[in-house]
Symmetry: C2
Subunit: 165 residues, 2 copies
């Protein structure tokens, strides 16, 4: 990594993408009325894993797939402005935040940069509990449609999604 060639490659790949591009008739409202909240993890290709096509769904991702205030903001925009009414929250096995030691990370960053900041990283001790907590936070939010909110675990070794009861 880090040789600076990635950005040039992305622009070249995009040239190829535009040659076959046929989604110009889509509008901002997702065709399937669904919003996905998932971890940023590189092993999870949300569209492929869930069988979604371009235009089908809003996809919201952060470190951990956690229902932060920013995710709630995004979901309110998704539902109130763009008509989605179903939410799927996806965590995954082998997440970098599972059991991460926040103090060690903070000390290392402070030592490296010379700047101490009070940033929580969102680490968690139990994957299923973390997903359930996100689902519950969304269900309890007064501006979010709570009728259809699902929690799923993605297994990075098999590609399989498992629904949380």
């Amino acid at each position: 990594m880090g040789d600076g060639s990635e950005f040039a490659r992305i622009l070249a790949e995009n040239e190829r993408y535009t040659e076959a591009f046929d989604r110009s008739a889509l509008t901002a409202a997702p065709l399937r009325g669904i919003a996905i909240v998932a971890c940023m993890d590189a092993r999870l290709d949300v569209e492929e894993t869930l069988g979604l096509r371009t235009g089908d769904a809003h996809i919201i991702r952060n470190a951990g797939g956690i229902a932060t205030d920013d995710v709630i903001r995004s979901l309110v925009v998704s539902q109130a402005l763009l008509g989605t009414d179903e939410i799927v929250v996806i965590g995954h096995t082998q997440c970098g935040l599972l059991g991460a030691d926040e103090e060690t990370i903070r000390h290392r960053l402070t030592a490296t940069t010379g700047v101490d900041l009070d940033i929580g990283f969102g680490s968690f001790a139990d994957l299923e509990a973390s997903i359930r907590a996100s689902v519950e936070r969304l269900r309890a939010h007064p501006w979010i449609d709570a009728r259809r909110i699902h929690g799923l675990v993605f297994d990075v070794e098999t590609g399989r999604l498992r629904e949380l009861a």
Copy 2:
């Protein structure tokens, strides 16, 4: 939308996905050392548009593709824990937040739900200025590697990425 069949379809699609799944050897560190920050918009398939494969990149997405505190948290995790060192910020044409009237949305939600909340939606008046502001915020952050941060506009009508100077 909203007939509840989407979730069942997703699980069925995932069954098919697992049959050909061959990425079990990937680890959490993205192969190309890159993190993407993009809008949640359904018309933007980040992997296809940028020519990324499963395992290549962290993908962070929210309403607007804005560098919020939660995006900064995710990027710090991406760089400090998982070794990425290049960031691409992507906004897009016809964004639902472009020129959105926050007061109108808030009043409507308050009237519909009976609960008044002070949530900003992240609307913006100028797409390029919004992307540039995100890039600048990331470049100025003491815990983010500022050497390779790019800003791009995605055109939803052509699929083309355009670099901001």
